[in-house]
Symmetry: D2
């Protein structure tokens, strides 16, 4: 989870490659030769195969590219032709120097939102936070202190389509990633489809337990001895998307629902911050409703 590899102070350009394809002999050799021939030095490499024979192959590479060599677009096209097409890869090359644009959505609870803004302001989240959108006006002041624009987009009963249209207008070219930092409205399938695997939500339970509303109350009623939080990509199925990260803490019969909320809030903040950071560092590949996380 080294942060050192995201600096870019040399005449080198840091790049990252994410790959998914059918597993075949020679993939690593082909990719590493391509990089070597382009003067790139691999500084981090993770790989996973679902099966030693005939499975799916996943890889994350981080490498230093001489600035002089090639403009990114040319390098990418060259990789496509020489490597990706040959193995029929799902792939993506990204450059940490091009910060991802992040939009944060929130309702009234500020803890998850502020955690992200804090970490971002301390350079712990490599991103450009472009805006906060909320269906309530309450958190404007807290957000504007961070010099981030705050958009109040109320969602009136029966007029969700309108609200989402307005949000999409704001988000246009402003969001490589959308984070639902306790945004309590359900997004429509139309909206979600535009940002496949690019909307992260924090759910305040250890999924798949306690889907839906009031998970802390559900947890108290069931009498669980640990409560948790789950960060996941949003899909059309409520709280059913690919899980990125989860954590739990011990609770006891002494904890009221109010205690669970307070103590769980701390886990929500940590879990969401980790998930967002991993996304920003290109560490996540979605596959068949689950995630491969090269953390």
């Amino acid at each position: 989870m080294s942060s050192t590899d995201t600096t870019d102070s040399s005449p080198q350009r840091t790049a990252r490659l994410l790959v998914r394809c059918s597993d075949k002999p020679g993939i690593v050799a082909t990719i590493s030769n391509f990089l070597y021939n382009h003067g790139a030095n691999i500084t981090a490499l993770d790989q996973h195969s679902t099966d030693p024979t005939g499975g799916t192959f996943f890889m994350r590479l981080e490498f230093q590219l001489p600035h002089a060599e090639l403009p990114p677009s040319v390098f990418d096209r060259s990789f496509k032709r020489a490597v990706a097409d040959r193995y029929d890869m799902d792939w993506r090359i990204s450059y940490p120097a091009d910060l991802k644009k992040v939009a944060l959505l929130v309702s009234k609870y500020d803890h998850a939102l502020l955690e992200l803004l804090w970490r971002w302001s301390r350079d712990e989240l490599p991103a450009e936070v472009t805006c906060v959108i909320s269906n309530h006006p309450d958190l404007r002041e807290s957000v504007e202190r961070f010099d981030v624009p705050y958009h109040h987009v109320p969602v009136e009963k029966g007029r969700k389509a309108e609200a989402e249209a307005k949000m999409l207008e704001i988000l246009k070219e402003q969001a490589d990633l959308i984070v639902l930092a306790r945004y309590m409205q359900i997004l429509t399938g139309d909206f979600v489809e535009r940002y496949t695997n690019r909307i992260i939500n924090i759910h305040h339970s250890f999924l798949p337990a306690f889907v839906g509303a009031g998970p802390y109350r559900q947890a108290a009623t069931r009498g669980v001895k640990r409560i948790g939080a789950t960060a996941h990509y949003v899909t059309e199925e409520l709280d059913g998307g690919p899980i990125i990260e989860q954590d739990v803490i011990r609770v006891t019969h002494r904890d009221s629902v109010r205690d669970l909320k307070e103590r769980g809030g701390s886990i929500e903040r940590d879990v969401l911050a980790r998930a967002v950071k991993w996304h920003l560092e290109d560490r996540i590949i979605v596959h068949q409703g689950t995630t491969v996380v090269f953390a």
Copy 2:
């Protein structure tokens, strides 16, 4: 979680009191006066109220009783008349020197069973293990090494009633507690009813997630990032009884279902051993489908 208080080397007799009743002023004073007047010294006390006013009151007391004073049965009757009836209490007095009789049920997986037998042989579980019953013959040798009788009671298709009748015969006066240490048969409501809040099961998931069969496979399919185990009292509802203890460990995309089983086995053993120990030490009160655990 002190073990020291279970020793009984002095001319004192250790006793424990568990109480549940409607909360009212004066309960603690009444109980502690009663004990003081009978020469008892309180060595541990835990209390819980669901609400400061009008809730339910729970208490666990551990105390030293002079041997000379009164025979247990007289002391118990005296407590009933002077205290319990007055506050309409659910209550129980137990004496650690009278070891609880424990029967273990198992199918083929031996890890949970051996963990319990091994801790018991090291004096870490204050109990008399009276027998092991299994629907398979496989583990006889492993069990008999601990000088514990092994009963093979096969459960043939459509003849569960017969098998349970045979088991009840074996268990008669041999079981204050039944532990399902990976016993893979579902017990009938009739059977369960005879041992209300006295059958502990270990389920290999973080309940209420992944109820039923194949929880590790379910976990792999859903792509959770932690797997867990849950010890609970058995009720008629499958995997729905009051939860006693839970724990989880981190897993990743690298863990195959076989890995989950191996790694989860370690958590199952720990969680079950803790739950059984707490039961044996009279630390658990069941209330409205949940547990108060004075651990």
Copy 3:
């Protein structure tokens, strides 16, 4: 860890009693009778004995006192005469409605400080934060946003006595508790003595490992696989005071010292917030260099 018991909306007054004394029969009866006779209703009770016979006895009680009954000072005097003197108790009665005054000391790192201020602003820490004192001017703006006065008291080389005198002047009647939220100056014995068991420090290691400066660097050099944080009361011995709370997280060879700082910061915040909350809720008794925490 219920928060419900700290509310005080009824015509009742919530009070808390902390007791330490030599263990003897009859203590619980004496205390509970006293409370019952004064119309008090016990809502929470925790007790601990270091030994069933001849040890030290600790107790925390929370109770509701009818407002009409007695003014606090009279009640306290009455308790002293009728109970405390008889058993030669170290004791303290406190009233949650009288918020404890808290002063926060900080240097340049803001994460622990902001965590406390933020939880306090959300009513998660029952206190009156009276001021922040820092040996640096940097965090003034962040603090003043919370409407808390910020005092810059530089500590110049060889002139620590002067600086501490100035701080004591500011703290006069403003601090029932002092929290060192990453305050990087060592306080003199003189200063510490004035606030015995009332200064909480957060040390960024799992004590007693890595005492002193640069614990994250020490941890990386030693190659530990978990890093932690420790909240403790400050004594004259550097990082040697009674430990209140500790926690750890897994780290790997991939984590640079910078990563350890970032990831450890999250643990520091949680551990410190828990310790401060427990102190404010009168849950901690110091005994022979360690703490009894009735959490």
Copy 4:
């Protein structure tokens, strides 16, 4: 942590490569080309660099080698000439089908020993356990049940050299790895030197806290709120060798030293078993007093 890759049911031979060398461009390409040209298919790959430029490079590869291709010794020589010498590598190729020989050393506590023997008997530890050596006769029966020879080698005062000579005689060609499963004698430098980075010890504290004797008592005296266990390679410095794995659990003021021993024992067993498994799966590289663990 997949176990699937250790099976060897195909006409393929599974092999593993561990590498440490100065980081330079082209290493990955060179290695992967070599493997590709020998018909090998890479199924797992982990890499770590201490620094993007000029650091140390570490890699673990798992690959399938066609049986027909080359005998292992020829393949190894070929790798040395074509790759290892060129980059001045520390390297090792191993074949999981050739089980590592493991000798277990123990004194009187059986929990760590039995945990390893259990897991081994369930095929969870890929090894050939060749013998158990103890300075006490007590555990003979427990060990022989697993069909493992038990050697009683007492260590008399002032005659350690003799005892070690006897042990070395027994260990001759019987130990690729020695595990100290609570062996309470300190081994001499001479002995340790013969098995550099091949002796794993479990220490019952969270190192570097509580080095030496009686760590649970030390922990109780210091009043820590978590206790732990540490598995490390043995060096001449007592409890100072490279740490492989650590874990902790929460404890409270209620836990007596006896409780700490019982509860800590559970952590010791887990931590040691993980460390041993990682060693057996060739996941550990020692570097400058620390470990890189590709888990």
